[in-house]
C-alpha cells in the first residue's frame, strides 16, 4: 500500500486569534509616550492657532481682551477679497517668488557644481564662506543693509557716485525698492540653497558619473544628462521652499527697511495681513486673510508634492 508522507507544516484551521484590546493598547503606549512632547507642542503652537485663526475669521474683534467678539459671518472674507491693496500685494508676492528663484536654484546649482571641482579643504572653506550670510539674523542683516544703502552716507551710493552714476534712494524709490529687498533676501538665502544643492549632489552615487565617463560622456554631457536630472528632486524641493517661504523670509526686511512702501511697492501678502491685524487691530480681517493665504499656499504645496512624486527616481 502506498502512503503519502505527512505535511511538513502543520496547518490549523481558521484565523489566529487577535491580541486583546488591552494588549494592543499597551503596544501603542511606548511610542505614544515618546511622541507626546512633540505632539503637544505641535498642537499648542501650530494646530490650535490655526484652528483659532479660522474661528476668528468669522468674528469682529479689536484684540482687546475686554472688548467683546461679535459674529461677522463671511463679511471678513468679502472684505479681504475686495481689498484694493490685495492685488498689488499678491502681484508683489509673485514677483518676490519668481525673482528669488535664481538665488535659490540657478546660482546655487552653478556654485555647487563648480565647487565640486575644488580639492577637499578649500571646498569646505568655500562652502562655509557662502553659507555665512544665512547665519546672520534677518533683523541684523536688514540694519546693516539699511546703512549700506543709505542715500547720502551709504557705501553703495558712495561707490556709485565715484563711478559717476547718480546716487539712488534705494529704499524710497518705488522702482528700485522691491529689487533691493529681493537682492538682500537672495543674498541671505544663497548659502542655504547652495548647501542643499551640495547635499543633493553628494547624494548622487559616484558610480553614475563614473559609468557615464566610461560610456564616453564628456564632463558637460555628464552634468547635463546625468547629474542635473538626478538633482531634480532637490531642485524641486528648493522651488517649493522658495515659493512657500519667500513671503516669510522677506517679511522682516520689508518691516525694517520699507514698511511695505513706498506706496505699497514692496508689500507682500503676509505684511498686508500683519498691518491689518496688528496695526489696525482687526483680528477678524487678519484671520480671514490668513485662512485664504493658508489655503492658497496649501494648494501650491499639494501641486509640488504631486510633482515631486512624479520626478523622484529613488536612486538605489
Amino acid at each position: 500500500m502506498l502512503v503519502e508522507i505527512p505535511e511538513a507544516q502543520a496547518v490549523t484551521e481558521g484565523r489566529p486569534a487577535r491580541p486583546s484590546v488591552t494588549a494592543r493598547l499597551r503596544g501603542w503606549l511606548p511610542p505614544l509616550a515618546y511622541l507626546a512632547p512633540a505632539l503637544l507642542f505641535l498642537y499648542l503652537w501650530t494646530y490650535r492657532p490655526l484652528g483659532q485663526t479660522f474661528q476668528l475669521s468669522f468674528f469682529n474683534w479689536n484684540l482687546l481682551p475686554t472688548s467683546p467678539m461679535t459674529p461677522a459671518g463671511t463679511d471678513n472674507y468679502t472684505r479681504v477679497l475686495g481689498l484694493p491693496e490685495l492685488g498689488q500685494a499678491v502681484w508683489n508676492t509673485v514677483v518676490y517668488i519668481l525673482a528669488l528663484l535664481p538665488f535659490t536654484v540657478l546660482i546655487p546649482a552653478a556654485v555647487a557644481l563648480l565647487a565640486r571641482r575644488l580639492p577637499g579643504r578649500s571646498r569646505t572653506l568655500y562652502q562655509a564662506l557662502i553659507f555665512a550670510p544665512t547665519l546672520v539674523t534677518p533683523v541684523a542683516a536688514a540694519a546693516v543693509w539699511r546703512w549700506l544703502l543709505d542715500p547720502s552716507s551709504g557705501p553703495v551710493n558712495k561707490a556709485l557716485t565715484a563711478l559717476g552714476a547718480e546716487p539712488l534712494n534705494f529704499l524710497r524709490d518705488p522702482d528700485v525698492a522691491i529689487g533691493a529687498i529681493i537682492l538682500i533676501s537672495g543674498w541671505s538665502l544663497l548659502g542655504f540653497a547652495t548647501l542643499v544643492i551640495s547635499a543633493g549632489l553628494a547624494g548622487i552615487n559616484d558610480d553614475y558619473p563614473a559609468a557615464a565617463s566610461l560610456d564616453g560622456a564628456s564632463r558637460w554631457q555628464i552634468t547635463r544628462l546625468i547629474t542635473l536630472p538626478l538633482l531634480s528632486p532637490t531642485v524641486l524641493f528648493l522651488v517649493l521652499t522658495t515659493t512657500l517661504l519667500s513671503v516669510q523670509i522677506t517679511f522682516p526686511l520689508i518691516d525694517i527697511l520699507t514698511q511695505g512702501g513706498p506706496d505699497g511697492a514692496t508689500t507682500n501678502v503676509y505684511y498686508l495681513l500683519w498691518q491689518y491685524g496688528f496695526r489696525n487691530f482687526d483680528a477678524g480681517f487678519a484671520g480671514a486673510a490668513g485662512t485664504v493665504f493658508f489655503v492658497g499656499f496649501g494648494l501650491v504645496a499639494a501641486l509640488f508634492v504631486w510633482l515631486s512624486n512624479k520626478l523622484s527616481f529613488y536612486d538605489n
Partner: protein
Amino acid sequence: MGRIELDQLTRRFGATTAVDRVSLHIEDGDFVALLGPSGCGKTTLLRMIAGLLPPSEGRILVDDEDVTEVPPRRRDLAMVFQSYALYPHLTVASNIGFPLRVRRRSKAEIADRVSEVAEQLELGALLRRRPKELSGGQRQRVALGRALVRDPKAFLMDEPLSNLDAKLRTATRAELAALHRRLGSTFVYVTHDQVEAMTMATRIALLNAGRLEQVGTPAEVYDEPASVFVAGFLGSPPMNLLPAHVRTDEGRVLVTAAGVDVPLWTGETPEQDVTLGIRPEHLTFAPLTEEPGARPLLRGTVCTIENLGSEEIAFCAVGDTTVAVRGARPLGVVEGETVALTARQERVHLFDAGSGRRLVWQPEPAFATA
C-alpha cells in the same frame, strides 16, 4: 583588438599600498579574472585600468598605446559596475543607448543597435521600463547591454554577479562565458568568488594584499599553486596545509610531522622546514594496519563530518592541525574514529615554511650521480 598591459602599476592611499607594483599582460581575447579576498586591491586595479583612479606609479598600455593619462571616455573600454550603475531616470532603452547617444549617433542607428542588443539579452519586453522596475538579474543584463551596445576594446567587470541569488548566478556565469566565446573580446573580471574565476576565466590573476601571487590558467593555479596563499585560497574546503619537516632518509626524501609520514622522491635534499599541502579530495582512507614508508600516510581522529548531499567532508585532527577529507557520501567513518589517510605522491605539494613559495623537485643531473 584589446591587449592590456600593466607595467609596475602601483596605487597608494595615504600610508597603505592598495596595489603594489603589479605587472600583467592581458592578451587580446583573454578572459582574465582578478581574484582575491576583500581588500586585496582587485577593484582598485580595475578602476585604474578603467581610468577612474589615477595610479601612483606605473603605466597602463592598451594596444601598445600608453593610456595612463588618458581620461576614461577616450580609453574605449566598457565597464559593468558591481552596483550596475544604471541611470535611474532613464528607461532601459535609453540606458543601453547612452554610450551611442553621447557619441552623437543618429536616433535611428541608436534604436537599431539597442533593439539588436536587447534581443541578444532577452530584454525586448523591458525596454520602456525604468531600472527601479527591474529585478536584479534584469538590471545585470541591462548593465551588460550598455557595455555591448558599442564595440569596446575590452570589457571590465566589477563583481557583476555578486548581487544575484545563487541559482541566477550559476545561469549567468554560463551566459557570460558563452558571450565571451562568441565575441572573442578581452574581458577583465574582478571577483572574490573562486567558482566564478575557475568556471569562466581563461586565466586567473590571484592578488593578495595588493601583490600578484600567481597568474595562470584555472588548472594551473589549482593544480600547481605558486604559494601557500594560493593553495589556501582555492578549493572548498581549501588545501590542507600542515607544518612539516623535510629530511633525507636512506636516499629518499621524507616529509614528517606529528602523525605525518610522507616518503617522496629518491635523492637527497638539505633538511628544512616546509608546509605540506594536500587537497581534501585527494585524500583517501587507508587501512589502519598499514605500516608507514610505502606511500604518504597521515594518522588522526575524525572530529566532525559535514554532509554536502552528494559528498561528505570529514575533519580529522592530525597532530595539531585539522585535515579535511572530501569524498563521495558516505565516507564510511564516524566521529571519534581513528583513521589513516593516504594520497598519491604526485598530489603532495610542498611550500617553503618561511617564504610560502612552492617547492618543486629537481632531479639531479645524471652526471652528478654517475
